[in-house]
């Protein structure tokens, strides 16, 4: 599994391994985004999180995001791993690594990846608060689906 660029895993994610996956001789810049479990959200305290995924489709969607990036920013290389299951405070939920000959593209493409993950990848987060629990649907508030499907922008599924 060590060479897969897009993965859904149950175990802790090693940042270094994703950096290695995108490290090529053409690269001058590698950016990583590491999503961690935050203790406080709008004054509410999280005890732990639970992530669930529709795994085969999630992997496909991650690969699609990578393809979109490699088309938009030339010579970039992308790797993404998302963890599922129970995660405690400060645990890493997702790591996105992008390499590019130039730093600007590495930052932009990386940010694009996390935005797209929040739009199209079938992964769900359940917050376990001090006083209850709830499945979070970021999507619902921020990107209402006009045609019953997510914003796919300029890319065909």
């Amino acid at each position: 599994m060590a060479d897969l660029l897009y993965e859904i895993v149950n175990e802790p994610i090693q940042v270094e391994s994703l950096v290695k996956k995108v490290s090529v001789r053409e690269a001058g810049a590698i950016t990583t985004f590491i999503g961690t479990v935050r203790e406080w959200t709008k004054g509410k305290r999280t005890i732990y999180l639970e992530y669930q995924a529709y795994i085969p489709m999630a992997v496909k969607m991650l690969a699609q995001i990578g393809k979109e990036i490699e088309e938009k920013w030339t010579n970039t290389k992308v790797a993404i791993t998302h963890r599922i299951g129970r995660l405690d405070i400060s645990d890493i939920a997702v790591v996105i690594a992008v390499s590019s000959p130039h730093r600007k593209a590495a930052y932009e493409a990386n940010e694009y990846a996390i935005e797209r993950i929040k739009q199209i990848v079938p992964i769900w987060k359940k917050e376990h608060w001090e006083d209850g629990e709830t499945w979070i649907g970021d999507q619902l508030e921020k990107f209402p689906y006009k045609d019953g499907k997510p914003i796919l922008k300029d890319v065909e599924l």
């Binding site: 999503g35 992530y51 669930q52 995924a53 529709y54 085969p56 489709m57 999630a58 496909k60 998302h82 939920a93 997702v94 996390i114 993950i117 929040k118 739009q119 199209i120 990848v121 079938p122 992964i123 769900w124 987060k125 359940k126 499945w135 979070i136 649907g137 970021d138 999507q139 619902l140 209402p144 689906y145 045609d147 019953g148 499907k149 997510p150 796919l152 599924l157």
Partner: protein, 77 residues
């Protein structure tokens, strides 16, 4: 036979991760209405549908042998 996968709150409300329905052919929209009748507690309005791991539109056809997944608003990352 159509296989239906449920996730997140849908899975909890229905009480299981998978359903099987004996159907030959149906559209996405029709399947949603059918399920709403069987499970009045769930809300499929802002839920996307994937057929065989691809996002599908309301009037796309589903046929026997397909795997349908209902995708509530995602919250990965």
């Amino acid at each position: 036979m159509i296989k239906i996968l449920l996730f997140a709150d849908l899975q909890e409300k229905v009480g299981k991760p998978e359903l099987e329905l004996k159907l030959e052919q149906i559209t996405v929209e029709e399947l949603k209405s059918e399920l709403q009748k069987i499970y009045p507690l769930i809300n499929l309005e802002s839920v996307m549908t994937a057929v065989n791991e691809e996002y599908a539109m309301a009037d796309d056809a589903i046929k026997s042998g397909d795997t349908v997944a209902f995708i509530p608003p995602v919250s990965g990352g």
